[in-house]
């Protein structure tokens, strides 16, 4: 997993609430057995017409946002299915951070496994950054994970909370499975205990 430390990038505004995983990556693109290559289909049904032409009004089709690395989104971003194809598609497009007031639980966890930082801010703070993002490519938003801050293009600084374990893994680009395997003795001990107490499992 790629490390996440700091990011200074163009932010695309998507104020719609409840943007679901079917919007982020429609089901026809889940038939892949790879993790890469989904960026071209990110937000596919909002981004392209049925015959594949770009819809010019869609934010990521506008010249200013084609290289966006941050999304500023409405409440409850990523609701719906558990498909990790959603963060894979975001990452493949080049998105490394999302800013919203809230996320669906599974999507939120999936982001951290893929080097994407989902940032939770207060509604009034998201409003400021949404307006900032609407200014286009000249307005760069800065994210500093170590300091847990987001800085708007005009220098307003907002702090965010993040779980210490998730932060540690993201900053160092750590593989969860490797870390857990270091605790194999605890897992073995649990299995011995559990199989005595609940042998039917």
């Amino acid at each position: 997993m790629e490390k996440f430390t700091t990011l200074s990038g163009i932010a695309a505004p998507m104020p719609l609430v409840n943007i679901d995983t079917d919007m982020i990556i429609p089901k026809q693109f889940l038939k892949t057995i790879k993790r890469s290559g989904l960026g071209v289909n990110l937000f596919d049904e909002m981004r392209y017409t049925q015959d594949g032409a770009e819809i010019p009004d869609f934010v990521l089709n506008k010249p200013a946002y084609r290289n966006a690395q941050i999304l500023v989104a409405g409440d409850n971003f990523g609701c719906g299915s558990s498909r990790e194809h959603a963060p894979w598609a975001l990452l493949d497009f080049g998105i490394r951070a999302v800013i919203s007031t809230s996320y669906a639980d599974i999507f939120y966890n999936n982001c951290f496994k893929n080097g994407i930082l989902p940032i939770v801010l207060k509604p009034e703070e998201v409003d400021v950054l949404m307006k900032d993002a609407e200014k286009g490519a000249n307005a760069r938003i800065e994210v500093d994970l170590a300091a847990q801050t987001v800085t708007s293009s005009d220098g307003q600084v907002f702090s965010f909370e993040v779980d210490s374990h998730k932060k540690h893994c993201l900053i160092n680009g750590l593989d969860d499975i490797g870390l857990t395997m270091e605790k194999a003795a605890s897992i073995d001990a649990f299995e011995s205990r559990a199989s005595a107490q609940r042998p039917w499992v």
């Binding site: 919007m23 889940l30 049925q50 609701c79 990790e84």
Partner: protein, 468 residues
């Protein structure tokens, strides 16, 4: 000992390791696997030279991509990319030695229907699957939730998940349901009341007389949609109905082990003075047969209602509601029961069990679907299909003009050939009415199986109580 919720008890029984910051390794008793969210996880194991830690606790079944037409044994009924995914699961199940129900097996079906049916899901277990509707298994008093593919790989490799505990939310449905009101109406009404993010950060325990009165099938329908309310999991304390459902299933314990299990299962309830971080109470008698009008499961109204206007909402929901109305092709003030439909879909992990088919068949018996309407029933498993045939339900559907299909996820998410066309409007017993969910441009109204059957007869959304 301090009082605990049911969730607290199951959690405590499964913590294999706890770090100082409260991050836990939660041990997983059952890992269910399907073809769409697992190929990258198995590939990850191969690349790292890792094995499946507990193949005996890992159960796989293909469901999302599989065609449900009777000719599906012919591989040509699948698109190439679907076939590659199903074949990858065939191979991964064999290579890693996990339990497997291939497409050709009569027990194949939707993973969340097969798990309980085969007795893999039992009270007090931790159950995960790379699918958000894993919440279904909470109906047994199991802690069950969806995970992403990286977590699938993590569970395959270590049989644990890195977790922090969620908060406790109680949803109580008091009293009795009125005639024509079902588990689906309960679960949709709860989401209508709390919103799709109302449960975010929580595990919901459903309780109250109306929940106790539900069958296991009904309880699965309720828990299935906990995720649509944003909750990590939904759970219902086990009782005599739960034990009766589990007893004698192929993978349920037998003899002395059954007795030992039962002794533990009977301790699985929330203590009277347990702490709840959030409480929602609905009166059973206030719940009506409901339908969704928009493109979020929270867009729920009684069938007697009218389509709302965007201006009825506040904040970001105004824009979202307008977008939903445009997408759904509806006008504010229009009576919900005037909405004409093109298609009826009965099935899915929400409503593809035998009781659902019985409820729909009871409405359809001796009647015909409206001319020109497309209607299909997709049983949740091969065994549900066989039982429905034995009970004569299949014939009722066929006589009513429905297609009688083989088991799979089908038109719930349209990864197989069962899809809506742009503008096609569907009365569906599934769980999501998102834009494009059932096919690009398709319009989905969620409802109970009885309501979907009523709509099939009239050709428009219909109050099933008028047919009872």
């Amino acid at each position: 000992m301090s009082p605990k919720t049911l969730y607290d008890k199951i959690w405590d029984a499964h913590v294999a390791h706890e770090a100082e910051d409260g991050t836990c390794l939660l041990y997983i008793d059952r890992h269910l696997v399907h073809e769409v969210t697992s190929p990258q996880a198995f590939e990850g194991l191969r690349m790292a030279g890792r094995k499946v830690h507990a193949p005996d606790k890992t159960i796989a079944v293909p469901d999302h991509n599989v065609p449900t037409t009777l000719d599906r044994a012919n591989a040509k009924t699948m698109t190439e990319d679907s076939r590659i995914q199903v074949e990858a699961l065939d191979k991964n199940a064999k290579d890693f030695g996990i339990h497997y129900y291939p497409v050709s097996d009569v027990r194949q079906g939707i993973v969340h229907i097969v798990g309980p049916e085969q007795g893999w899901t039992l009270p007090g277990m931790t159950v995960v699957c790379g699918d958000s509707h894993t919440a279904t298994h909470g109906a047994f008093g199991a802690l069950a939730h969806g995970i992403g593919t990286s977590e699938v790989e993590h569970v395959l490799a270590t049989q644990t998940l890195i977790q922090k505990k969620s908060k406790n939310m109680k949803v109580e449905i008091t009293g009795k349901l009125r005639p024509g009101v079902t588990a689906k109406d309960i679960t949709l009404s709860v989401i209508g009341a709390t919103g799709t993010a109302g449960g975010t950060g929580y595990v919901i325990e459903y309780m109250g007389e109306a929940i106790r009165d539900l069958s296991m099938e009904g309880r699965m329908t309720v828990c299935n949609m906990a995720i649509e309310g944003g909750a990590r999991a939904g759970i219902i304390a086990p009782d005599e109905k739960t034990y009766a459902y589990c007893m004698g299933r192929p993978h349920a314990p037998k003899g002395a082990q059954w007795e030992a299990a039962l002794t533990w299962w009977k301790t699985l309830y929330s203590d009277d003075d347990a702490h709840w971080d959030k409480v929602v109470t609905l009166k059973g008698e206030d719940i009506a047969p409901v339908v969704t009008w928009g493109t979020s499961p929270e867009d729920v109204l009684p069938i007697t209602g009218v389509v709302p206007a965007a201006s009825d909402f506040t904040g970001g929901k105004v824009e979202a509601a307008q977008r939903s109305l445009d997408y759904m092709g509806l006008k504010p003030g229009q009576k919900l029961s005037d909405i004409q439909i093109d298609t009826v879909f009965i099935g899915s992990c929400t409503n593809g069990r035998i009781e659902d088919l019985r409820a729909a068949a009871a409405i359809l018996k001796g009647k015909k679907k409206k001319d020109g309407l497309r209607a299909m029933v997709v049983p949740g498993s091969g065994l549900v299909r066989a039982q429905a045939e034995e009970e004569g339900l299949a014939q009722i559907f066929i006589d009513a003009g429905f297609e009688w299909r083989l088991a799979g996820c089908s038109m719930c998410l349209a990864m197989n050939p069962d899809q809506l066309s742009p503008g096609e409007r569907c009365a569906a017993t599934s769980n999501r009415n998102f834009e494009g969910r059932q096919g690009r441009g398709g319009r989905t109204h969620l409802m109970s199986p009885a309501m979907a059957a009523a709509a099939a007869i009239t050709g428009h959304l219909t109050d099933v109580r008028e047919m009872m």
